[in-house]
């Protein structure tokens, strides 16, 4: 195991775990914070995973994830807003 895999594992447990916990508890609008945290940490973990296995071409996955996570969260903020 190299240091990149160790950092990947730490992010997976210490970052993704709390994100999932926040996304599963509380009112819908409060869960958005968990959704954002999960998306951000998942992209970072994927970058470290690509470095650990030495596959630079896989870096397109976190790039797409960041874009989709941003758009998806904005859609949720729109849907969860008060009805006019």
């Amino acid at each position: 195991m190299n240091w990149w895999l160790l950092a990947f594992g730490v992010l997976l447990v210490g970052g993704l775990g709390p994100g999932l916990w926040l996304a599963l508890r509380g009112p819908a609008a409060h869960r958005l914070v968990g959704l954002e945290l999960t998306g951000s940490v998942a992209a970072l973990a994927m970058m470290l995973w690509c470095q650990a296995i030495g596959q630079a071409s896989f870096l397109i996955v976190p790039v797409v994830l960041v874009l989709l996570s941003f758009a998806g969260t904005l859609v949720f903020t729109r849907l969860l807003g008060p009805h006019r």
């Binding site: 709390p18 609008a29 958005l32 954002e36 960041v66 969260t73 903020t77 009805h83």
Partner: protein
């Protein structure tokens, strides 16, 4: 030497990200949680990204990492503001049409 610098940067970024995530869980208020979240995209992500660029150099890998970091640095505060606005509207702190 390069590997050591990259390791320190990535380790620091990982530590800050994990601490921010744990702080977000421990925070009782959703607005405080949003603040904890922006630490990840504004500090943790750039540190990890710079560490990866230091070890890989600025080629395809470095450009991809830089793109992810920039998108997170720009998008994180925007999402934080949008989330705070939705919660403030639902809590009745601001009106449904705010800002007008």
């Amino acid at each position: 030497m390069t590997a050591i610098i990259a390791g320190v940067l990535v380790g620091l970024g990982t530590l800050i990200t994990v601490l921010a995530a744990v702080a977000a869980v421990r925070a009782g208020d959703v607005y405080v949680r949003v603040h904890c979240l922006t630490v990840v995209t504004s500090v943790g992500s750039p540190l990890i990204g710079v560490g990866l660029i230091v070890v890989n150099g600025f080629g395809f890998t470095g450009a991809s990492v830089l793109l992810v970091v920039l998108l997170q640095a720009v998008g994180g505060p925007l999402l934080g503001a949008a989330t705070g606005r939705v919660n403030a509207q639902r809590d009745g702190v601001i009106g449904s049409g705010s800002p007008e």
